[in-house]
């Protein structure tokens, strides 16, 4: 119980720090947000009319002292009032509610599927790392790891969309499109994410499996007649489970931001793309909101991973460190 409370406190203060960081950073960036409020064609003219300019600075609350803005900011965050986006003119929540599902649509299935496939592959090649098939698989995973995901996205786009005319050039499916059409929009970004996540997880599981299989008790089990890796799931997976779970939790958390670059190449209207747009346009409320969502997702994933690990392995109660 005490431990739970301490953990909660720790994660809560993390969130607070993120919120503060999110407040400060956009505001210390050079560049005047009024450019976007007046519009790029008008700003230069407006600047020469100080009275008018000041009037609108006040309207948007940008002339209040920083402390005051901060106070309002914290209160608003915890009461769920995340304000209106400067560039969209709509409540920030609405925008995120619109875009988040797109990112999730892409990343959730990819992560889950890559987990299943990745663990399966990782176990297999970790048990017998010196077989030819294992080596080839490991090399392929390594190769995928070295390649930038956005580059592979571009290549996929070139080959499958331009040359083969197989799928449309990115973008999200329209609300009235058929299931087949929807999948055709999805399939390329999904494949890229699947490929990368699987390779990553497979390598980690492989590493863990190799380590565990070198432990003494496995040798004993083998001498007792354990032949195939299938039967040793219980022996292999169990000890590696805690760090694996922890890693997976982090994976899921980072998935949200990890898909960012892929979203850009494919014009996928998700959180990642929105975040970038917000930064470019100095849309403070939107920047704050998108960052916080991602950070909270990651923190939550961490917390869950922590909890699960704690339950599963009483040895490892401290953030999944592998302490011998």
């Amino acid at each position: 119980m005490m431990r739970l409370l301490k953990s909660f406190l720790k994660y809560f203060s993390l969130i607070l720090i993120i919120v503060t960081l999110n407040f400060m950073l956009p505001r210390v960036m050079p560049g005047d947000p009024m450019v976007f409020i007046f519009g790029e064609e008008i700003y230069g003219i407006a600047v020469n009319n100080p009275e008018l300019f000041a009037q609108f600075v006040e309207k948007y609350g940008l002339n209040l002292p920083l402390i005051e803005q901060y106070r309002i900011h914290i209160i608003n965050f915890f009461t769920g009032d995340w304000g209106y986006s400067f560039s969209f003119g709509r409540p920030v929540f609405e925008i995120i509610a619109e875009r988040l599902p797109f990112t999730l649509l892409l990343t959730f299935p990819a992560t889950l599927m890559s987990l299943a496939i990745g663990i399966a592959i990782g176990l297999r090649i970790g048990w017998r790392p010196n077989r030819i098939s294992s080596r080839i698989t490991t090399s392929i995973c390594l190769l995928i790891h070295s390649v930038p995901s956005y580059w592979l996205s571009m290549v996929f786009l070139l080959v499958f969309s331009l040359w083969l005319r197989f799928v449309p050039v990115g973008g999200a499916p329209r609300p009235d499109s058929t299931l087949i059409e929807a999948i055709s929009h999805l399939i390329l970004p999904f494949s890229v994410l699947l490929l990368f996540n699987t390779a990553y997880i497979a390598m980690i599981v492989r590493g863990l499996t190799v380590e565990v299989s070198e432990e003494e008790f496995i040798a004993t089990a083998i001498s007792k007649g354990l032949k195939h890796w299938k039967f040793s799931i219980r022996h292999l997976l169990r000890p590696s489970l805690p760090p694996l779970i922890f890693l997976t939790a982090i994976e899921l958390g980072f998935t949200l931001s990890g898909a960012l670059l892929v979203e850009i190449v494919f014009n996928w209207p998700g959180i990642g793309y929105t975040m970038l747009q917000a930064v470019v346009e100095r849309d403070y409320p939107l920047i704050h909101a998108t960052f916080t969502i991602v950070a909270v997702a990651v923190i939550t994933a961490n917390a869950i991973g922590d909890l699960l690990t704690g339950f599963l392995d009483p040895r490892v109660r401290n953030n999944g460190d592998i302490e011998n």
Partner: protein, 274 residues
């Protein structure tokens, strides 16, 4: 325990990349001429064709290696340096300091890396130096954790406890015994961080937050995407840069894993003998 085949492959790849770096300093005459029209396909005069403003792609590729490599290596250095420092302090001194360091590590681990880098890069402005700083400041937690675990091991070993018992100074112990022993781990971490750094830098440039005055491979990808290379089918402008990134990352990964493996084995044998 000699170098394995994979490590040799890694070194081979690495040396070919460094060869690119060296060749990039060749004077203009050795390279293909600038063309008057954009996106010319590969030809005898321009082996990799030309890009959207008529520059020779091969030349740009070689020049890109400078920025990609230096930023990658330097930021990995910064990240590993910070990580090792914090890891050692945390692991050796323990107690409150340890708690503080671990919370710090947690905070940085939890901050979503890429988005934070985007904001920082946008804030600090597109410059070479800033990109190094940004990657270095956000990529150290992984190293810190692993170094810490190792430092704890050594700190708890009978040998070091003995040293403390006879009154050896803390600083002395850290410098003479802890650091040399975490060196192996730190080195493998450094080598393994470089590919991430290179891909991250390329990612930032790809979005347009890199430094266009010091074009890297990522910058080439950025202009390919935004200047219609895809529609032109000008694959020669973006396939080579991506391959270079891949080869360089692979090289470092292979070497890094090799070092890690060797280090682990030597630690194990050391433990057994203790």
């Amino acid at each position: 325990m000699g170098t394995s085949r994979t490590e040799i492959l890694g070194f081979l790849l690495l040396s070919s990349v460094f060869l690119m770096l060296i060749f990039s300093f060749l004077p203009e005459e050795y390279f293909g001429k600038k063309s008057q029209s954009p996106y010319l396909p590969p030809s005898p005069s321009n082996p990799l064709g030309t890009n959207d403003i008529g520059e020779d792609v091969l030349k740009n590729l070689l020049i890109g290696s400078r920025a990609s490599l230096t930023i990658g290596i330097l930021s990995a250095l910064v990240a590993t340096g910070i990580g090792t420092l914090i890891g050692v302090i945390s692991g050796f001194f323990g107690g409150r300091i340890d708690e503080f360091c671990r919370s710090l590590t947690d905070l940085f681990l939890v901050i979503p890396g890429l988005p934070m880098m985007i904001v920082l890069a946008a804030y600090l402005g597109p410059s070479y130096f800033n990109v190094i700083l940004v990657i270095g400041l956000l990529w150290w937690p992984a190293t810190a954790r692993i170094v810490r675990a190792r430092a704890v091991q050594i700190a708890n070993s009978a040998f070091v406890e003995g040293l403390i018992a006879i009154g050896a100074g803390r600083g002395y112990i850290v410098i003479k015994h802890i650091l040399p022993n975490v060196y192996g781990v730190a080195l493998s971490r450094f080598v393994l961080t470089v590919p991430s750094a290179i891909i991250l830098e390329a990612g930032l440039s790809f979005i347009g937050l890199g430094d266009p005055r010091n074009p890297s491979w990522g910058t080439a990808l950025h202009f390919a995407l935004t200047r219609g290379a895809l529609l032109h089918g000008a694959w020669w402008t973006f396939i080579p840069p991506g391959l270079c990134i891949a080869i360089t990352s692979l090289a470092f990964l292979l070497i890094g894993f090799g070092i890690e493996k060797r280090y682990r084995e030597s630690v194990k044998s050391m433990e057994r003998s203790l």
